[in-house]
Symmetry: C2
């Protein structure tokens, strides 16, 4: 097990319905030393790529992406979620439909901060169905930017989001891939990764 | 001028209606080196206090608070905004009415991450009317936690939020206090601070 899998086993809580609560260290309360370690690990995995910007989406991606950007010494941009505001012209907008909540959201990034010569590392805390990542990829493509890779802290391997993005040919790195969870015993099965 | 005021003059954009856009370095695209400098400056101002936790509110406070928490070597908790979800019991909830938008929002923090023995430094990017900060103070009080201070990156000194919080007796430190802006000339007048 790597450092993150160990932390998930120690402090993660499995709830019925395939819910993994990691809000004591990742997405409500944040362990800053862990964020730094996550930043260093993504630098190790993507450091050979010419990344000049880290992109994420509000809210819980922000803290993680900030420490990844720190390792690369590049700026970080976070996309905003919005309910169909009309802001055409100045913004790249991706419309994203949630499988889980059945609602539509817009993901927006100002055209000032994303350009055709950008080489992006896209970061988020969780990947399940992948709606948020699909929105970020769409926005990067609208800008003509190059996606150098995508880094996820925890991927739910039993949902389809990760496979879709790998099928699309992107380098997707998840620090922990959860293949199964059992709420009764609290056990978590991680996918073996090289 | 301090480092932040200099950056605001260099890259901030004054828009009609007393709008100050700092989204190129603070709350959409983030300059990580600046975040680190902000973290160090709040450590300098509050380092004598027994801070054991940094608290902020999503979304744009998160990146800043993370680097403040890093300087103090303590965890960071970010409050979530929600539209009247019924989550009584497990959460501290503050109902906050926006002066600007006339709508009500709930600010919520899990009871797992805020306790009576916590000594909080509350951080946010902007302070205008102060609704968000009022919600965070309310939540800290609900938990019986001690508020050691509040740190703001940019305060709009011509609005009432800062004065109210200082009147309440809290140590409120704003790295830049904007007393006036002129959208026609682009000039920004900062309050002199010792």
């Amino acid at each position: 097990m790597n450092f993150l899998e160990e932390r998930i086993v120690k402090d993660g809580i499995v709830k019925p319905g395939n819910v993994l609560k990691v809000d004591s260290f990742l997405n409500h309360q944040m362990d800053i030393r862990l964020m730094e370690e996550i930043g260093r690990e993504f630098k190790r995995r993507f450091g050979h790529k010419p990344v000049n910007k880290v992109m994420t989406i509000e809210a819980s991606g922000i803290g993680i992406a900030a420490f990844v950007a720190r390792e690369f010494d590049v700026p970080m941009v976070f996309a905003k979620k919005s309910k169909s505001i009309n802001i055409a012209g100045e913004m790249y907008v991706a419309e994203v439909e949630s499988f889980t909540h059945k609602n539509k959201n817009q993901v927006i990034v100002s055209k000032n901060f994303l350009h055709a010569d950008d080489h992006l590392l896209i970061i988020d805390d969780f990947l399940a169905n992948g709606c948020a990542l699909q929105g970020l990829i769409s926005i990067a493509n609208s800008a003509g930017a190059t996606i150098e890779g995508l880094g996820i802290v925890i991927e739910k391997g039993f949902q389809t989001g990760g496979q879709i993005i790998r099928n699309l040919g992107y380098q997707l790195e998840s620090l922990a891939i959860v293949d199964a969870m059992d709420a009764e015993t609290g056990t978590i099965t991680f996918r073996e990764q090289k």
